[in-house]
């Protein structure tokens, strides 16, 4: 017995845990150092004393637990006790206490055995783990990213607040449910989750389904979860909700698209305005009809058309191409060919001209039956260069449709849209006004007889006598030269001659312009006998004839002519004066009046130098002066014969010049006798 007790004590002493035995009176019978240390009391102070007597180490809680084991006879295993930190040990200690009822062989309760294990270290480790977990949990819970953990069967093991909230749920609603219940496209998602579970990590957009049925787009990364042996036991996904971002992106994209469209529209409008402005400017600067036509055609190319044609009705009902422009220079040859050929190119053209309404012929594709019809209307050569889309706009001015502006698309592959019609119509209207102006100006010029050429020639003709007057007057005024009296008289005579010449020229110009404006038509016409016309005409110039010999031979049986007598007398006088002026001083002049082919023929014949054959027709041109050294120095206006022709033509007659053999000229006037008579009757 003693031996076995000694063995027990040795064992107790050597044991790491605290071990002790209390009798039924709760007195310490045995305890080892480890227990005494745990109770913070030396073994000697405890042995033989009741547990409650000692207040220092053992808490009333332990006493209570021991009493309960004694009373119930039931063991208490692994009860955890945490002691308050003491001054000696700042650290709080944790123990596991186990109490066992101890019985003798007959089952009589002898006391309570106590085992105390210090679990402070373990506890600390546990706490650390728990704190760490807590930290992670907090991170996970408060993460801005959604976190979703599933097992190998896609069941949710964990989902954080953020992820559940994204889908409109609480985490508890989702845990335990398959992730597949929360996606829209199950098959695709299943496949992808399957891949995750097969060990593939990915970063992509996941379309989840919100509780309200809407789609929640989440951008996320997923990765498989493995256990210690490397088996895949689930998958972890971390997601951020990009629905909003997507929406903002989409809105921005839409905004950008709208802005681009608006900008394109503004630019197009600006281009159109620029085109119209340029058109106005160009057309305003052009008063010449042909130039205006060309400019119109080239205005629309290439901005508005690959081909542009100006169609005008030259006479009656037929429209013809009057100007043509093309964007592609390789078509120059074809363009020349088309311009030569005035046939209407398209059956639809005359309609536009007649109705004055623009028409758009878009290419509806090769299969459309309409296309077949419109194709037939187009000549082969136009189809061959790809002209399909056509836009015909009427050119309207002062309430009339002058023609049609034809626009066509070919090589560029562009198509006309309905809104192009407005721009084209604006362009056509401007062109029409310009064309109308050019016509008016042309008519005006013709009416006034002040074409640019005539104006230049007139100014030249006026300047010549003026130059002589200026020359001789300034000569007379020179202080450094003393002219003798005869020379002074000569200069003064020159000045007077040139002043007269200037006066005559002005008179001729006035007559000319009156004749060309048609004023002559308004003069009263009276029946006059040809003999009277001739003698009166001769009287007008008799003072200018010098030594010329004039012979008059007019048939006495000629009928009267109904004419503007003063004008025709002027013609006769002018022809006689010319013969005297350009011939030798003793020139022989003969005036004859005969009836030829129902017409009255008045002819002035001379034996002067004649007229160069080249000039026979041109002597009737304004300001034409015959070329002959013999004639140089003969003053003249260059208008005399032009006026004669105008007068004769106003009487529906003819005038021409011939040379005689061997020398001399013959100027012939023919006036219709029938017409004169008819005019009188009328």
């Amino acid at each position: 017995m003693e031996e076995s007790l000694a063995l027990l004590d040795t064992l107790l002493r050597g044991a790491p845990d605290g071990l002790g035995f209390l009798d039924r009176e709760l007195r310490w019978v045995r305890l080892n150092e480890a227990l005494a240390a745990a109770l913070k009391t030396p073994v000697a102070q405890l042995l033989g004393r009741p547990i409650g007597e000692h207040a220092a180490g053992v808490s009333p809680v332990i006493e209570h637990l021991v009493r309960r084991v004694l009373e119930t006879g039931e063991p208490l295993v692994d009860h955890e006790l945490s002691g308050e930190p003491t001054a000696a040990a700042s650290q709080q200690r944790h123990h596991l206490i186990s109490l066992y009822p101890v019985r003798n062989t007959s089952g009589e309760l002898l006391g309570v055995g106590m085992v105390v294990v210090d679990i402070t270290e373990r506890k600390q480790a546990e706490n650390e783990v728990r704190e760490s977990e807590e930290r992670y949990r907090r991170v996970v819970e408060t993460a801005n990213e959604g976190i979703w953990l599933i097992d190998a069967e896609t069941r949710t093991m964990f989902i954080n607040q953020r992820m559940a909230g994204m889908l409109g749920y609480a985490p508890a609603d989702i845990v335990g449910h398959s992730v597949l219940e929360f996606v829209n496209d199950q098959s695709e998602t299943r496949e992808r989750i399957g891949q995750n579970l097969a060990g593939i990590s990915e970063q992509l957009e996941f379309p989840f389904r919100h509780r309200d049925g809407s789609t929640v787009l989440a951008l996320g990364g997923t990765s498989p979860i493995t256990n210690g042996r490397g088996d895949i036991v689930g998958a972890l996904g971390m997601f951020s909700d990009i629905t909003e971002r997507k929406r903002v992106d989409a809105e921005r994209e839409q905004l950008l698209t709208r802005e681009r469209a608006a900008r394109d529209e503004a630019e197009a409008a600006q281009r159109q305005l620029a085109l119209l402005a340029r058109a106005s400017e160009l057309l305003a600067a052009s008063l010449d009809y042909e130039a205006t036509l060309r400019q119109i055609a080239w205005l629309a190319v290439p901005e508005l058309a690959d081909w542009c044609a100006v169609f005008l009705a030259d006479s009656g009902e037929t429209l013809g191409i009057r100007a043509l422009a093309y964007a592609n220079p390789v078509h120059a040859e074809l363009a020349r060919e088309l311009e030569r050929d005035f046939t209407p190119l398209d059956a639809r053209l005359p309609d536009v001209w007649r109705t004055g309404r623009a028409e758009l012929f878009p290419d509806d594709g090769d299969d459309s039956p309409e296309m077949e019809i419109s194709r037939d209307e187009l000549p082969k050569r136009l189809r061959s260069i790809g002209i399909r889309h056509r836009l015909y706009v009427p050119m309207r001015a002062r309430g009339r449709t002058l023609g049609v502006l034809g626009l066509a698309m070919a090589d560029s592959g562009r198509r006309y849209q309905p809104e192009d019609v407005t721009l084209a119509q604006q362009l056509a209207d401007r062109c029409a006004v310009a064309l109308d102006n050019a016509v008016l100006v042309g008519e005006l010029r013709q009416a006034l007889g002040v074409g640019e050429e005539l104006l230049a020639a007139t100014s030249h003709e006026l300047r010549t006598p003026l130059a002589h007057i200026k020359g001789f007057t300034s000569t007379l005024r020179q202080p450094d030269v003393e002219w003798d009296e005869a020379t002074r008289q000569d200069f003064l005579a020159e000045i007077e001659r040139e002043a007269d010449r200037l006066g005559g020229l002005i008179t001729d110009l006035l007559n000319m312009s009156r004749l060309e404006s048609g004023a002559m038509e308004q003069h009263p016409r009276v029946p006059v006998a040809p003999a009277v016309l001739v003698s009166a005409g001769l009287d007008r110039v008799r003072g200018l004839l010098g030594n010329a010999q004039v012979q008059v031979d007019v048939a006495s049986n000629l009928p009267s002519v109904v004419v503007d007598a003063a004008s025709l007398e002027h013609v006769v006088g002018n022809l006689v004066e010319n013969a005297a002026k350009y011939g030798p001083s003793n020139v022989q002049i003969r005036i004859t009046g005969t009836r030829v082919d129902g017409e009255l023929e008045l002819a002035v014949t001379d034996d002067g130098p004649g007229i160069r054959d080249d000039d026979l027709e041109r002597v009737f041109d304004k300001f034409f002066r015959a070329r002959s050294t013999d004639q140089s120095g003969v003053p003249g206006t260059g208008l005399g014969l032009a006026i004669c022709r105008a007068i004769v033509e106003a009487h529906r007659g003819r005038i021409w010049a011939e040379n005689r053999d061997p020398r001399g000229a013959r100027l012939v006037v023919r006036l219709p006798l029938q017409a004169s008579a008819a005019a009188r009757r009328a």
């Binding site: 300047r463 130059a467 001789f472 140089s632 120095g633």
Partner: protein, 138 residues
Amino acid sequence: VSLVRQSILVVDDEAPMRKYVGVNLRARGYDVLLAADGAEALEQVATYRVDLLILDIGLPGPDGLAVLSAVRRDLAVPVLMLSARACDDDRVRALDLGANDYLTKPVGVDELLAHVRALLPQPCAYRISSIDNITARS
């Protein structure tokens, strides 16, 4: 005072113009040649020494511009165009063809003479001064 009188050819189809220019030049000591058309002008240039050409444009036969071109093939003689044509085109064409000056009719004596003096080479002054020097030394 000049030892050699300078010679000026006046070409104009208008007799009053030839007379006006001619009398004024002669009165200032120039030798004056006259031509009424282009052919005559070319003949004169080929036959006589000419120090200055006064040339109208509107001439019968070869016109003033044709005469100018022909003259310019061989001669550096100064040419003064004197024309009633006032537009810039004629002026530019004439100057491009080698004319030295261009006056538009009408033109007064003072202006005409000033242009003539400006265009004529001035050998007389040198000759006179050098002769004076020689005379002074001897």
